[in-house]
Symmetry: C7
Subunit: 97 residues, 7 copies
């Protein structure tokens, strides 16, 4: 059974510098990654709140978190993890509060 991570969605807090381009480029450089999407959720005077969507065949979550920390950021929460042979999308049901 394939337990590799195919998608990781992270909520990240980081200072204004370095900018989102540096973050995206640094993460895209990791092995096992097809692509990374860095989207700005909120900005205040000190901090930017980003959501990272990372996809690939074998994502190394610990290495990604290390890169985020190296750039001065912190992983605030792991919002979604997808493992296996194919990327399964979340199915919404009436129970989702």
């Amino acid at each position: 059974m394939n337990t590799k991570i195919r998608r990781l969605v992270l909520d990240v807090l980081k200072p204004h510098e370095p900018d989102a381009i540096v973050v995206a480029t640094a993460i895209a450089d990791h092995a096992g990654i097809d692509g990374v999407n860095v989207t700005l959720l909120e900005t205040d005077r000190e901090v930017q709140n980003l959501t990272l969507t990372i996809e690939g065949e074998a994502i190394d979550a610990a290495a990604i978190e290390e890169t985020v920390n190296d750039l001065g950021g912190t992983v605030h929460s792991i919002d979604q993890v997808v493992c296996g042979d194919r990327t399964v999308e979340r199915v919404k049901t009436p129970q989702d509060r």
Copy 2:
């Protein structure tokens, strides 16, 4: 007639540790599973509320629940079950309260 489970959506409550990556990886390791999506619904000081979407050709629901329990979590509700030769999506109608 094929009565195998092709999709299972579970509402799970678990402590902060182990994290969602450990949960997703552990479940992806089960036989009969193509992939698993673990999405964070809510977090409070003690507990995380996750929604798991598990898809495959022959999901063993009892074994999945056992894995969740082994990781310190509980299955709060079975939100969706799909059985048969193909994955039938829920059709919404005006009657859905």
Copy 3:
């Protein structure tokens, strides 16, 4: 003209046990069915409200209802029925109250 039932959407009330997996598996075992989707709409202390989406080439509605009753449930309403050579989707118009 093909009058076979291709899709049936049922609103079902059932006690907590047996669970939704038992219901889905039992219905998937009927002839003429490609697959069944059982989604939890609401739960209170005694009863679960499920919506069943059943699809196939020749669904036997009476047999399905019998199975629901055998499991302690009741069909609260028939929310959608699709008959014919192909599955026609409901077209919404401004008149739908």
Copy 4:
């Protein structure tokens, strides 16, 4: 020019019996019809309000209405009619009140 009716959406009021399955099966039995979708909009103590989406190459609207009446129902309104060589969908514009 092909003036045949390819889709008919009818708002129908009918007593509880016969049920929606009987209505769907009876209409599917008409010539020129590929399929029929009967969806429950509302139910009160006496009457059910259904929306019927009927598709085919040459729908006989009068014959359909007759069948509805034979089953104790009435066509409350013709909500959509599509004629021609292909099924043209309604295009919504800001003017739709």
Copy 5:
């Protein structure tokens, strides 16, 4: 450059009779038309408000309006016109009031 009309969306007011089927059939009979969709927007005691979506390779708008008038209706507004070699859909932008 192809200036032919490929789609016309008209807001039409008409008396209850003749019904929408007669309107759809009459318009579908025009040359240069692939299909027509007549959807009921509103009904009051005297008048029905319909939205007509007419598609083809070379729609004759004046002839269509004449047919509507012949059936006792009036074109209340031209809600959308599409001309050219292919059917261009409206792109919504934040400026649309």
Copy 6:
């Protein structure tokens, strides 16, 4: 690098006459245009507010504006411009006020 205009969305104010059909036909007649969609946003006693979506391989914006003026209208705003080898759609992000 291809800097040609592939799509232009214009907010146009014009008197009631000439009607939207004349506007659409006149613009469709320009070189470099595949098609034009003219949709009515609002109407008041003197003026109509239209949104024009124009697509092609090499749209001449100045010539289009001239045609609008010739028909008694004014380009109120340029709501979207797309240039290049392929038509890039706008990506919405949480930052869009």
Copy 7:
């Protein structure tokens, strides 16, 4: 690992002149770009707020910003950056505030 920028979404403030067409054309002229979408978000008396969606195989963000500045505008925020072998779309989760 491919760290090239495949998409850049920028929030830009600029004076009314030069117009959005000049901005789109100037950016489309950069190497490594397939296309650019410039959409008007808001206009007030002095300033226009645009959202730029730029896609290609190897976008030079610094050069783009320089062009925006040359045209009298400023990049107000980097709203999305996508790097890698393929364009990964942002996955929304319940955690997005």
